[in-house]
Structure formats: C-alpha cells, structure tokens
Symmetry: C2
Subunit: 385 residues, 2 copies
C-alpha cells in the first residue's frame, strides 16, 4: 500500500514516536507496567489541558465522538437543561446527543462559518439557567475558533458547568482548562497529537466529578461512566479496579505522541501552525481561493477555503488523491461542494507537506503562478521549522 499524505482535518500523519510505540510488547490492562505508563499519561494530560492538577484526566477507549458523548452523559441527568453553542457540524452533533440523552436542549446558533454572538449567549444563559453550557473551541467543519474564555465567563455568572470540545485545539494551541473555568474537555488521539485514531484524551474538573458523584440517577452509559474511569485510572483504597480491557497499543502510541507534543512545547507548535497556515493561504489566494472565515475568528489548525468559481471540487480532489497521493477534505453538511478544509494539526502542519500540496495543485489547475508565488509567500523561517 502506498504512503498517502494526509492533509485532512484528522486523522493526521502519525508522529514517528507513535508509529514506533505501536510495536512495543503486548501487556494486559491490569499489568503494573500499563498502570505506570497510564500514570505518566495522566500527569501529561494535566499539563496539556492546564487543569491545575485537579480532577481526572484519562483516555477513553473510543474516538473523540465518544469523548463528546461521555461528557454530556455524565454531566446531564434526564430533563436537566443544557445550553449548546453551535456554529457547525460538531455543535449540532452535541445538540443531537444531548437530545437523545433526554436533556432539555437550548441552542444558540450562528450560521456555519460565522462567529457566535456573545450577547445572545449571555441572554440565553440568563433565561435558561442551564446546568451545563457546551461549546466547541475549534469547529472542524468550518474552521471557526470560538470565544471559549468569554463563554466561560458567562457559565460562571449563571453557575453552569462548562464543557468544551478541544478536538482541533488542545495539543497545538493554548488551552487553559482551569483559567477558563472549564469542567470537561476532550479531544481525539488522531488530531493535534498525531497518534492513531481510537482514543479520546479527556479531562474532568474536580467540580465535574463532584457533580457526577451526587447524581440522582446513574449515568445511562456504563461504558463511559466517569466514576468507572476514575476507579481504573486512579488507585483508590482498594487499589485499581478493573473496568474494561483498555486498548494498550493505542495507550503506548498516544502516550508517546503526548510526550512529543509537550517536549516541542505548545508555543512552538502554535507558531508552526500559524506560519504554515498563513503561507499556504497567501499562496492559494493568488489563484482564487478565499478564506471561508474572517481573520478575527479563523482557526489556525483547520484552514477552510472557499473554492474559486468554476473549480471542479470532486475532480481536483480525485486527482490530488490518485495522481499525487495527497488527501484533503471537502465541506461537511451545508458547506459540502463549496469549501475545502486543510488540516494543520500535529504532523500536518509542516512546510514540506504544504509545499507538496501547492506544487500538485498548480500542476492540476494548469496554473504556473502558484509554485512561484508560493516560494515568495512561504518565509524562510517556516521552511526551516
């Protein structure tokens, strides 16, 4: 099978340390070496999420969508009220999940690609007095960065718990769980960490755990019950409790990827993604692509671009994939056929990868200007990164 360069908004090309760790020896889920390794993951996730060391961090044995569902299932009881902030597919997914869980769901919406009106969030929060406010930090479906600290202020004012989807941000951009007043956050292993898909690194605040401990009804899903996770991940008075067989290979790989991210450092990773994204966008603008999202709310890790008039979406992406072995992604939901989404998470955000994409694109479009302009647009600093 050929190597394909994934420049999608997840999964990302694997970090070399994650690839190597997939071949570490097999261990059982109750083995002392697994617990020791998990302890390091717990500590590293506290650093990554900036939790202040409080609460529970762990890996859920499922993808980021399981992470989304676990938070809603644990923090909401049937007929509890939740306020969801949505301006994309993943905000809508949260609303659907909360609905299925039997919560009373209110949604503050903005159109796909546009920003959230904080005044509207504030008045909805005052009106609804929700138990939980849930928002998406970076909308993978549109490339919008939402005002997470500001929504956190509103949650604090109305005394609501606060859940944040950190799927496209944590590990690449600054994420301050404690300072921003967040009670639950989650991502997927295959996004900013460039580990294989299959795990959801999550963080619960101490306040979230207290709320879960005093629920009137049991969490509807045994598999995602935070107290079950707590018993396995943190030694209690009777030691560690078996819950389910964790995916050990994915623990190794994700643990190494988290360690690699912390060693590079979030400021350096942020700088890397911003530099590559800016250079790629500048080059693409010269041949008619335009940013889908205005600069003030543009997510650096998922670059959404509106296609030039007349560009045949399916044809160009097919040629990229089949002739050039490069995979990029189109729009989701109402943006399908109108935009492309270029991933800049983890190992995707590298100048050599975006150079390859732009050269291929120039060839497909018969557009000689693109590589030349690209050479000018990509600063030497980024090429050396």
């Amino acid at each position: 099978m050929e190597q394909v360069l994934l420049l999608t908004p997840g999964p990302t090309p694997l970090h070399p340390r994650a690839v190597a760790a997939l071949q570490w020896p097999m261990r059982g889920h109750m083995d002392p070496e697994v617990f020791a390794y998990n302890d390091r993951i717990v500590a590293d996730l506290h650093t990554l999420y900036q939790t202040g060391g409080e609460g529970l961090t762990c890996l859920l044995s499922g993808t980021g969508s399981l992470g989304m569902e676990a938070g809603l299932a644990n923090l909401l009881e049937p007929s509890d009220s939740v306020l969801i902030i949505s301006n994309g597919v993943f905000g809508e997914r949260m609303a659907e999940m909360a609905q299925r869980l039997g919560a009373r769901v209110s949604v503050v919406r903005a159109p796909f690609g546009l920003g959230i009106d904080l005044a509207e969030v504030s008045s909805a929060a005052e009106r609804v007095r929700p138990k939980l406010i849930a928002a998406v930090h970076g909308e993978t479906s549109t490339g919008v960065l939402n005002p997470i600290p500001e929504i956190g202020e509103i949650a604090r004012e109305v005394g609501a718990l606060y859940s944040v989807d950190a799927v496209t941000t944590v590990g690449m951009l600054e994420f301050k769980m404690q300072a921003w007043g967040i009670d639950y956050a989650y991502t997927g292993s295959q996004k900013c960490l460039s580990a294989p898909p299959g795990l959801a690194p999550v963080a619960y605040s101490a306040r979230a755990l207290a709320a879960i401990s005093t629920r009137k009804t049991p969490v509807v899903t045994w598999y995602s019950d935070a107290l079950g996770m707590l018993g396995y991940w943190e030694p209690g008075q009777q030691g560690r409790k078996y819950h389910h067989t964790v995916p050990v290979q994915l623990h190794w790989a994700t643990g190494e990827a988290i360690r690699a991210a912390l060693e590079e450092g979030i400021p350096a990773r942020s700088e890397r993604v911003r530099t590559v994204a800016a250079a790629a966008l500048a080059a693409m603008r010269t041949v008619g692509f335009e940013p889908f999202v205005s600069e003030a709310i543009r997510l650096p890790t998922v670059l959404a671009v509106r296609l030039p008039p007349g560009l045949d979406d399916a044809h160009v992406r097919h040629r990229l994939r089949h002739d050039h072995f490069i995979s990029i992604t189109g729009g989701l939901g109402e943006t399908a056929g109108k935009i492309w989404r270029l991933g800049l998470m983890g190992e995707t955000a590298r100048p050599e990868h975006y150079r390859a994409l732009l050269v291929a694109l120039a060839e497909i479009l018969g557009e000689p200007r693109l590589p030349v302009v690209f050479d000018q647009a990509l600063p030497t600093a980024a090429l050396a990164a």
Copy 2:
C-alpha cells in the same frame, strides 16, 4: 520493555499478521481503500458469525464492553422488558447496563461456576414475555459454557429478540448465529482473534435491524446507534455516510487477524484449544489444581482451576510474572483468591506456551513431578500442532 507471555483470558499475544498490519500506511476514515478493506471485514465477519449473509456486521470503535452496551441500547427502549441469563461477572454487567438504560430487567441466575437451569429460563420467559433475552456464551469470569442454542429455542417460543455475548467463543469455537436464532452478537478484537484490544466485531440480524428501524424513541447513545454504523459500513443510495473517525490501524490489524482465523479454520482452532486445554489440565491436576467447572459445561477457551489448599495466589502469580515473564489471571468478583483463569483463546492456545507455564510453575512450587507428568500428558499431536 521485555516480552511477557500473556496466558490470560484476554488480551492475548498478538497474531503476527496483526502486528505487521499495525505498521501499514495511515489512511483517512473516508478513504476508498479503507472502505474496500472494511468490505472484506464485513464479508469475513458474516462467515465467522455464520449469519447466512443477512443483517449488518461491522466493527464498533470500542472494546467488547461497548459491544455489549450497544446491543442493549439498540434493542431496548426505556421500560422494555429484558430477561438476562447470568452466572458470572459478564452476565451481571449486562444486567447493570440494561438497568442503567431504563429497561425492566429480570435475571435468571445460577451461582458462579454452575450451569443455567433451562427450565427456569423457560418459565421466566413465559412469565415475563421479554422483548429481549440476553445471554453469555462463554463466561470469561468462571469458564462456563452456556447452552446458547437451547436458550435460542426459548427465545423463539416467546417471540423475543436474542442477544449473545460471544467474547470468548466466536473465532475459536463454532458459532452459528443464524441457526441458533441469534439477533445480536459481539466480541472483542483481543480475544479469540488475537488482534489488539480496542474494537468490537459485532453482528446484527435483519430482524434486529428492522426492530431498531421501527423504534419509538431514538437510541440513547449516538456513538453506538446501529443505523449510524449501517450508514458508514454499507453504501446507501447516497453512498457512505461519515459517522465518526474509525481507528484505521486497528481495522487493519483486526481484519488480518480475522482472515488468519478463517484460513486456519474454526474446526482446526477448536481442536487446538481442546487439545492444549486437556493436556494442561491433566498436568495441573497431578499437583492439586482441580477444574472449577464440571466437564459438561466447561468452556475450552478459559480454563478455570481451583487452587490447591495452601497455595499463595498472589505470591505465585507475582513470581510467574516477575521471574518468568508469564502473566495469568486470578478470579473476578466472588471467585477472587480462589481460582486461576488460564486463557486459551487465539494465540494463547499453543502447546509451547503451556509448556513454558508448567515448567515455570513446577520451579516455583518446588514440585519436580509437574514437568514430567506434563510431558506424558501432552500428546505428540498437540506438540506438533
């Protein structure tokens, strides 16, 4: 990290083809090569479960416990009635999950290690008229093989749907989903297939899908909704639908492990496990271990043995793990400290592995007879397998 020989009831040592597949190139979850590979998995799972080609087979992005929960969540609506057959930890887990899901739960129980009374199941089914009967084929916690075809007869008589936990059986022992009237079955990738943990290969009958399609309420968990899986795994009129980012590396590895199992063939695998289990038990009996389960209901893939009087469970297992790099498992729940559970699923059921265990055990116990008796007890045919 050292290689440790896992002779536990899961996870198992990885099949070499699964190890190799973990290094295959990365692909996105919507890539045509992933869909083509998934199609082969679907076909192979129809063969493995003997579905007759009807219904939906697929991999859930979580462990066997997610497989258990998915079936209950999809086949039951709140206040639907379910009859659970329990004689071990996993039967009890089903009851807890069904309770959390809001079903009306009736349980027919037998003590851990003993068989189910079919007359009791029958009269409970007549009394309760459940929408669903759920049973465990092989109880990992005790090593009991339950009468799945006979319970299937009872389900048919009362018109109930029928869900079966095939975690320790499918892939190693005969499993006839269609002939036994089963509507939902599941396992974990790390059990009889010797793939890495993290996936649940499952099968829904056509009747189960019809029941799910006509539910009055949505499935409470978006993540495990069978119709969401169907949209991703089977091309509909609008092609394949994105649901969540599947764990591609685990798909490769599990797909190869399934293929390896089918190439060896279930009859040959059954013969392998029965031969090794019989020889190991015969050797262990000579130094005072006794089978925990009577022969008629003994599960070949998990050999549960009662410890000889005076044997220090923790000490001996600690020495096995630390001096001999062999991992075995003790009792779960009420059998903790009283039994050991030796795994004979997939790659565990090999004479060379059980020879290593018995030699190590003889050394730890200061029991010179054990290796000699073992040599006599293990037939040449098994050693050559």
